[in-house]
């Protein structure tokens, strides 16, 4: 992809422009133009996302509580010491792992299930697919409010009406099972996302191979296990990784439904609480930096795989 690779001479080119082949010269000009095209976006991105992050790191070394705005002082690693030795970090990390992990796994399982069901030809297939993608389009704040008050409410929630109907007692979901509530909500929201990606995977399967397998006498279950699942692997990976990165940042349902109670205080909610309720900027910044490190750990893994997939054949 570099100018040098496309230049006719296989030996490394000296920096002097004069000795370049004319074709390489136009390529150089083109490369300059390309840079000019990319720079504005790059500059904007750095200005709005990267510089604030550097400032966050700086904040994390300050002793700065908004209640005492005049007493800002350098704190060294004190904030980080509080983060790692304090009682909040480990439960919060655990809550993040539990909520993100279970939502990803559950929505992936449901997504695969629905993808297989909707891949069949049946009456109203198009309409069913349209209805299924809707939860992903619905504004998360609206969805969280409707789930909390209209679906899961202990007195008038429809889920409890359904439970009563089959003879089970009502459950106070939001207060008795906060983590489960959030996981249910997120699973409902992300199942369509998983389904869409897996459906595209199912549809890219060669029909002939599947037919050949069925002619050879392989049952549908065996065909699914030995042919479809391996074929879907790459799609499952993409869905899992994109899903985990998005779910890792989930904030809306927690803020609206449980306010971080009962094992739902994820890292992003904890940071919000420290900064905007506790007003401790330095500590919140330290939590922010740690959150970023956790995300980067997940994202690096995600990006590696993504790149392997995206760069195959998409390179020009």
């Amino acid at each position: 992809m570099t100018t040098l690779k496309t230049a006719p001479s296989p030996a490394p080119e000296p920096p002097s422009v004069k000795r370049l082949h004319p074709a390489a010269l136009t390529l150089r000009k083109k490369a300059r133009q390309s840079r000019a095209l990319v720079l504005p976006a790059l500059f904007f991105s750095i200005l709005v996302t990267q510089i604030p992050f550097l400032v966050t790191i700086y904040f994390s070394f300050l002793n700065w509580n908004q209640l005492r705005p005049t007493e800002i002082a350098f704190a060294g690693f004190e904030n980080y010491a509080v983060v790692f030795t304090g009682p909040d970090f480990l439960p919060s990390l655990w809550a993040t792992v539990v909520i993100t992990g279970s939502s990803v796994v559950l929505s992936l399982i449901f997504g695969l299930f629905f993808a297989v069901l909707l891949d069949r030809k049946f009456m109203g297939q198009g309409l069913a697919r349209t209805l299924m993608i809707t939860p992903f389009l619905v504004m998360p704040a609206a969805a969280a409010l409707i789930w909390k008050w209209s679906m899961l409410d202990v007195n008038v929630g429809m889920v409890n009406v359904g439970l009563n109907f089959i003879g089970l007692p009502s459950v106070a979901w939001n207060t008795d099972f906060p983590a489960l509530t959030i996981i249910m909500m997120l699973t409902w929201q992300y199942t369509p996302f998983m389904m869409l990606i897996l459906l595209a995977g199912l549809q890219s399967q060669s029909r002939e191979v599947l037919e050949a397998a069925s002619v050879d006498g392989a049952g549908p279950l065996r065909t699914f296990q030995w042919m479809t699942l391996p074929h879907l692997r790459q799609y499952i990976e993409i869905a899992t990784l994109l899903g985990s990165i998005m779910l890792l940042q989930a904030f809306d349902p927690i803020a609206i439904m449980t306010k971080g109670t009962g094992g739902t205080k994820t890292l992003s909610y904890l940071l919000y609480e420290r900064a905007f309720i506790g007003l401790d900027v330095g500590q919140a910044a330290a939590f922010g930096v740690v959150t970023v490190i956790v995300t980067i750990a997940v994202a690096t893994l995600a990006l590696r795989t993504l790149f392997k997939v995206f760069m195959n054949g998409s390179e020009r």
Partner: protein, 270 residues
């Protein structure tokens, strides 16, 4: 026997799909009820329906918040397109060094949680007197959506047949003509998909909107929570407000389903 099995699976599929869609359907249904009917147990199915709750929602000033949401979503989408189209073009059709590094950088900014920058952004906006300012929100949403847009646009650009661009270059078209006259028309459906996805993410955004706006620039998502009212019944009016809030994006998503699917998988899934 075989046919019976097929019918059974189809029936099961529909039952599950409808169950999955039920909260949304119930929200729309509840929005037409009176508060009393909305909160009655057992739930009322046959009851007088009206648009009264919708009138109430707008009486509470939802119009302003919808306009704020629209302003932030449209302006951020425009900024994104303006920056992402040339960038993706530079990254895909024309040779550039270290394409992978640049792409990696863009996507990594999307994965950086808002937690990473919210504090400085808050204090910078505060010192500039730009808290509760819809322009600031639009710019932040643009930065949030830019990486996804660059990635999606690039995968769309990669599909433009090489010959078309080369033919234009031989005809002596310069960079701008090449981009505007030749490549963009082919890409319009792709650009529409990118714009739609950016719009959806901006329209639905909650975290930044909650923290950085209070009244003048408040957008729809944080406003919705204000319908929850500890003293009385609010299910019907909350449902009406939520229905209005989700409607534009849901309809747009339904119409542009195919593009949406491609876009969400960022061009990897074809």
């Amino acid at each position: 026997m075989h046919k019976l099995k097929g019918t059974l699976i189809t029936t099961m599929t529909w039952v599950l799909v409808l169950l999955f869609f039920f909260p949304i359907a119930w929200m729309v249904f509840t929005s037409f009820k009176t508060e009393g009917a909305a909160a009655s147990i057992p739930p009322t199915i046959f009851t007088a329906l009206s648009f009264d709750q919708y009138g109430l929602v707008f009486d509470r000033g939802m119009g302003t918040y919808l306009i704020n949401s629209l302003t932030a979503s449209i302006s951020s989408t425009l900024i994104v397109l303006l920056l992402a189209i040339p960038a993706a073009y530079g990254l895909s059709i024309r040779p550039i060094k270290r394409v992978q590094d640049v792409l990696f950088f863009f996507i990594s900014t999307r994965f950086l949680p808002a937690a990473a920058s919210i504090l400085p952004v808050f204090f910078i906006l505060k010192s500039l007197g730009m808290l509760d300012n819809i322009t600031a929100i639009g710019v932040l949403y643009a930065s949030m959506n830019l990486p996804i847009a660059v990635w999606m646009m690039r995968s769309f650009f990669n599909e433009v047949p090489r010959e078309i661009v080369e033919a234009a270059q031989i005809d002596g078209a310069n960079l701008r003509t090449e981009l505007i006259r030749v490549v963009l028309p082919i890409l319009l459906p792709g650009i529409a998909a990118v714009a739609l996805i950016c719009f959806i993410f901006a329209w639905n955004e909650y975290f930044l909107a909650t923290l950085l706006t209070t009244s003048i620039a408040r957008t729809t998502p944080p406003f919705l929570a204000s319908f929850v009212d500890g003293r009385g019944q609010f299910l019907a009016v909350l449902s009406a407000a939520s229905t209005i809030a989700v409607l534009p994006v849901v309809i747009a998503g339904w119409v542009a389903q195919k593009q949406l699917v491609r876009g969400l998988a960022m061009g990897a899934v074809k």
